[in-house]
Symmetry: C2
Subunit: 331 residues, 2 copies
């Protein structure tokens, strides 16, 4: 069975999701950072575009993830809020959910693999979340999380495939589209697909003429493969520096992306590092590798629009600078 | 003879300088980047202040220096413009003057010590300036520059002690004061004193109730010593990571700072690195060590104002990331 839906069904889903997204925007606008849109003369010259970078590295807890996490948590019933919420994540969703939980007074439990980076574990604990350690196989974390859901009645907040997480993530593109009129296209990184799906909903409904382009690391091109083949293909231990994009699409994100994204392009590890370097050195922004992937897609010149107004979603800025500062301190 | 001027003479100088500064603002407002003012909940919590960072790391050529360089060059006579301009600098002023010259069609020569960092030489050349190499002793560069002024009739644009450079530099604080109403104090790094003097002029005339605080590395505390003693004491081969602040005050910057700055505090190398790290990791901004010195002053808690609105001038973001990216690329 294919996943192609009738035009009418797709329209209904989109209208519903737009409503969720607009509600999310109203709910979040005084809670999230309305992140700045940055420009660069050098970037415009190099790309022969006018580029607008939506800088979610300036978001609370360092990435766009805070939008979806807060949006989802804030809609739990008072009973659910009392019982608490749980997720599995070794990275940005963990920190975002922990911060959102602390702001809303909701107890948060995060299942993390034992080999998760110390700095991320510390940041998540710093926001007051309880950490439960699991094995490093991708299915381990789900098993542990679901056993705790069963035992304690926690609400499970999926990092990307939850509709309220998608709607919250989409508020970044919503703000960008309201801030910069008449963009010709929007580029967005694809991992689990929450940000991409949210961006697609915002763009397709508010700016239907714009092209929606996903960018994914070549070394974790499961969304690209899924998009082409028409069914979800899961990433198998992908090896990419863009650690936020190693996850796979879920049923909800896949459906929205498949229907509404125009193109997914992939970029090499070298292209990701070069884009990241450009953003740091020329634009003076600290971004994480995943956060630079959308710009890498633009710089790779695989898309066909020249002399256009291009929106680029920079997803986050959580990067471990331990080594860098240790070296500086020694000099 | 002391340098203390009569109240009337000081008033006249300030009024003249404010006029220059307002003219500079009008001249520059469509040329410079009107840099953003960034805030941070964590920073406010830690300092018990409401902090507003004026981010000159986002300025053209990476630092506030572009403001003064463009302001000074644009006022040369057409004869002077034809002959070209010269400066000595191993750092940010060189790049700023080179870019301003390229925009104004003025040939720029920069005298640089032979041991200047390759990356800075390349950036200055990249903007089209001619580089003349000199010895590494501080007086060498002046000798070479003045011999070329004599030979070619170049206009000499001092990195900090030129009144139009000071007025241009002051437009950063001018923008900050217009953007954020009723600041209680402004912190600014002190090197050659151009930014400090310009900030003092803007603040003392537009916001007379605000306290003006200079911050200097302990290891290059010549301005602090000069401020205390009442005469210029020059830095002797200062050893600080804040390479933009190794220079000494000149007659103009000293006079303005001595009259109008309320306090100069000094910070250790460790405090500078810690402040820089905070800005990178928590605020996601790439700043150079000199650019973090003003925040280091605030974090050092040597100033007596609590629960106040504090403006912090972040002077620039030109830092060599070669090592960092080389390491990333290998992983």
């Amino acid at each position: 069975m294919g996943v192609k839906l009738s035009a009418c069904a797709v329209y209904t889903i989109m209208i519903q999701m737009l409503r969720r997204l607009e509600e999310a925007h109203t709910r979040l606008k005084d809670i999230v950072n309305i992140t700045p849109v940055m420009t660069s003369r050098s970037l415009d010259r190099i790309t022969n575009n006018t580029c607008f970078l939506k800088c979610e590295n300036f978001q609370r807890a360092g990435t766009f993830k805070f939008r979806g996490a807060y949006n989802a948590l804030s809609q739990l019933s008072s009973e659910e809020k009392k019982r608490g919420a749980i997720t599995h994540s070794s990275g940005n969703h963990a920190q975002a959910l922990a911060l959102a939980g602390s702001l809303l007074g909701i107890g948060i439990t995060v299942v993390m693999p034992g080999n998760a980076p110390t700095i991320k574990v510390a940041a998540t604990k710093g926001y007051g979340a309880k950490i439960v350690t699991c094995g490093s196989h991708p299915t381990d974390r789900e098993k542990v999380a679901f056993s705790l859901v069963k035992k304690h009645g926690y609400a499970f907040i999926h990092p990307s495939d939850n509709l309220e997480v998608i709607a919250g993530a989409g508020t970044a593109a919503y703000e960008l589209i309201k801030h910069v009129p008449k963009l010709d296209r929007i580029l967005c990184p694809v991992g689990g697909g929450g940000l991409m799906a949210g961006t697609a909903i915002a763009t397709t409904t508010l700016l239907p003429s714009a092209k929606i382009i996903g960018v994914e690391p070549k070394n974790a091109d499961d969304a690209y493969q899924s998009f082409k083949s028409g069914h979800i293909i899961r990433a198998q231990n992908p090896n990419t520096i863009a650690d936020g994009l190693r996850t796979s699409l879920g049923p909800n994100t896949f459906r929205i992306i498949r229907e509404k994204v125009d193109q997914i392009v992939t970029v090499s590890e070298d292209e990701i590092v070069k884009a990241m370097r450009f953003i740091w050195e020329r634009m003076k922004l600290v971004v994480e590798p995943s956060g630079a992937v959308s710009l890498a897609g633009l710089l790779s010149k695989q898309t066909d629009l020249q002399s256009k107004k291009t929106g680029v979603i920079i997803s986050g800025g959580n990067v471990d600078l331990e080594d860098f500062f240790a070296r500086i301190q020694k000099t």
